[in-house]
Symmetry: C2
Subunit: 473 residues, 2 copies
């Protein structure tokens, strides 16, 4: 006895969910979006956006410290963490208000409440005011996201999630961050730049395990030079209570005293409602879907963090678009569209120097059996980077020696995340190194660095003496 | 009676010339590079590079002024123009030293001196020590660049070229810049940011005449808001001497008093040596070449500013690469390679907000008979831009309604010049808006703005309510 019949109900108003809802409305489907918290999900409210706003503030602070070399003398300066926080709040509020306007404009009906599935296409919703409503739809899309994993710790120890750390009232003196993924590295950079003594502990052999090892090693050197203590290959076995906050204990017996500890060890899919529905879930709790984001129940779809451990907003948005297309096709014709092409999903970390990974790492390319050819270009030879004194890092290109195709583009450097569109265009379009090198780039910009690495790959380095190294897999 | 026989002599060691020289050596040709001044040409010594270094300093200064909103309190700060100049000098020196190393590494023989053609392939060179030498080669490439045009002015009036303004010992209080091209606009932004009272006068109806009009108009608004007085459609008819420096007089009778005047009205090809050789020269003094940079004398080639009024280093470098290929083919086989594909040449201006133009403007697309479709995306809806409070400007995409192909990408915004590689990849590869929109971009970055404008063009705006406007030509 559903109250209202919708074409589609989307559960979860983060990037994956709201993107799907907008696309569904654009395809003429009446769409209800149910969100239990704030629109925009983790990304907008407790992740990418507030962290980027804070990183911008800290970046400016870091720039000030070396202003003398650029002819600027600063007599006295201080920063106020709470006012940086206020800037982050204002950024979030501005964008959230924009999102509300957007959803209204596109005709998405938004309901605040907690959704539970009664049947595959029947949703019960406990609304914000405590009422209970029931809705049915022709299809349901789950975009319930993920929650940060908290490591076990002694009661009373000062331990925070990666999200909570963005909302502290005051900065700790000594901080231990457990987990060297994107969140952990960004927080380490942020707090170190603001004068906190930071220890970053990662269980795996290098930071940002999904990026190219060579880039990860150079990043570690950069962070250490800036003052971050980095411990890779180090497993945390205990978090004890201590007089000042907490003590982190590693497997090999190291003990780090801290005023605060941040767990940035990953996130768990919010898949409980779908488990109740009997949808197939993998060992990590992620909802299993086909290439069109469809679960084994044909009218139930899922997107974003609830289906995998990618934890990227842009990945979620792309899946939201894909699911909307699939649902529209399913509802109109009872079948899915033809096989979609694979995503080339960029990955960035917004510490300084920034990290960008697009396509295959050198190791992945070798493991997939390619005859791998690799080249590099250092920012030290890039005019734009030298003029800003931002010469740390490099561009690395991974190509297939047989076809010449560019398989991966990897960057470490100031502001390189903005080069994601260029790198994705090269890899996703299957361009050869020769085709990609022939594209002109504005001088003097960072974009030239990709061109230089490509020329080096072709044995025709221009602003470097580097030549490609080829290794047969 | 040539002293030495070379495969190729390159005259001029700017970006076009040194690129060609490196490429020629990479093709196994013995190459002599003759340069009368400093290696690196105008770009490295008196143009792009020192101006970018100074703009970086001024940008940091401008950022400081709004640091409060980012939680940073600055008690007292001042800048020192001479120390900013020192940073620019250091940048130039670093890169020039790198270039010398590079040329040596690649086997380019460098000679300091003034070259004159005796015959098409015989060069007489007055060397730095006053000696005279003569060389012959199988082909000669001219890359002698251009020189700034100085308007006629009263004797004793304080008038400077766009190059000289970068080397002032002290800043003027009041400055008039004549010419609203890239150099004029960059200098206007730079000096205004440093507190100089700047009037920018342009004869044509809008600034940066080669960019999209809509972008140019928005740029003018931005510069005026920052305090620059902009006078477009205004012809200067006189520069008089005045007690403080100079008075600039416009056709309609305006008079601007200034301590200094900068002429940024364009550049003149340094084609005198080639005129002596009888090579065909156009009315503007530019050497005429075919699509392979070959003059009407088959063993005489020319690249860069001496052949056109593009005045971009990256354009010159691309021509240098092309000429090297052509010369290698000509010398080996007595003929040119097959017709090359046209360049998609990006154009940027490094004021703030920055300008980037790639492909056709809306007007050009209409004039070429396309059924033009246009869309826009404002940075106000871009998370990365909002987090930095850099929301001025927009992305504009111009497409062909019939084929869906993207014809032009135009941007006004903070740091958009770094997006040149992405925009060129889209236009040069002939991607449709749908293909280009489907490329994933890292969140939150400025690169997303291009994606958003593309989705709007397809009638599927995501983070905006804007839809494309189509107009049949």
């Amino acid at each position: 006895m559903a109250e209202t019949q919708w074409d589609v109900i989307v559960v979860g108003g983060g990037p994956a969910g709201y993107t799907a809802a907008i696309r569904l409305c654009q395809r003429g489907l009446r769409t209800l979006l149910i969100e239990r918290g704030e629109l925009g999900g983790v990304c907008l409210n407790r992740g990418c956006i507030p962290s980027k706003a804070l990183i911008h503030c800290a970046h400016l602070w870091a720039q000030l410290k070396r202003a003398e070399q650029f002819g600027i003398h600063i007599g006295e300066a201080q920063f106020d963490w709470r006012r940086m926080r206020a800037w982050a709040d204002r950024t979030v509020t501005t964008l959230r208000r924009g999102l509300q306007t957007l959803l209204r404009h596109h005709g998405v009906e938004v309901l605040r409440g907690e959704a539970q599935p009664e049947e595959p296409t029947v949703i019960r919703c406990v609304t914000a005011d405590g009422g209970e409503r029931q809705f049915s739809a022709r299809a349901v899309l789950w975009a319930t996201g993920s929650s940060p994993i908290m490591l076990p710790h002694a009661e009373g120890a000062c331990v925070f999630t990666e999200e909570e750390a963005l909302f502290w009232d005051a900065l700790p003196d000594r901080l231990v961050i457990i987990g060297g993924g994107a969140s952990g590295v960004e927080l380490a950079w942020l707090f170190n730049a603001l004068g906190v003594t930071v220890t970053l502990v990662e269980m795996l052999p290098h930071l940002l395990p999904i990026i190219d090892e060579e880039v990860a090693k150079a990043l570690q050197v950069a962070l250490e030079r800036q003052g971050v203590t980095v411990r890779t290959g180090t497993k945390v076995v205990g978090i004890e209570k201590s007089p000042t906050g907490a003590t982190v204990v590693s497997e090999e017996g190291s003990r780090w005293e801290a005023d605060a500890v941040v767990c940035a060890v990953g996130r768990r899919p919010n898949s409980a409602p779908l488990q109740r529905l009997g949808v197939a879930i993998d060992n990590g709790g992620a909802v299993m879907v086909n290439e069109w984001q469809q679960t084994h129940l044909p009218t139930v779809f899922a997107v974003g963090d609830v289906v995998h451990g990618g934890w990227t907003a842009h990945g979620g948005m792309a899946e939201g678009e894909r699911a909307a297309e699939a649902i529209a096709s399913w509802l109109a014709e009872g079948r899915l569209p033809p096989m979609p092409s694979a995503f080339v999903l960029p990955f960035a970390c917004f510490c300084e120097p920034q990290v960008l990974r697009v396509g295959l790492t050198e190791r992945e390319a070798q493991e997939q059996g390619y005859a791998v050819k690799v080249s590099r270009f250092s920012w030290r030879a890039c005019g734009a980077a030298v003029a800003m004194d931002e010469t740390e890092g490099f561009v690395k290109v991974v190509a297939d020696e047989v076809t010449g195709r560019v398989l991966g583009v990897h960057l470490l450097g100031a502001g390189v995340a903005n080069l994601s569109g260029e790198a994705v265009a090269i890899v996703a379009q299957g361009l050869t190194a020769a085709q990609a090198a022939a594209l002109l780039r504005q001088h003097p910009t960072l974009s030239e660095g990709i061109g230089e690495a490509l020329w080096a790959l072709l044995g025709l380095p221009l602003h470097s003496t580097h030549r490609a190294t080829g290794r047969r897999a």
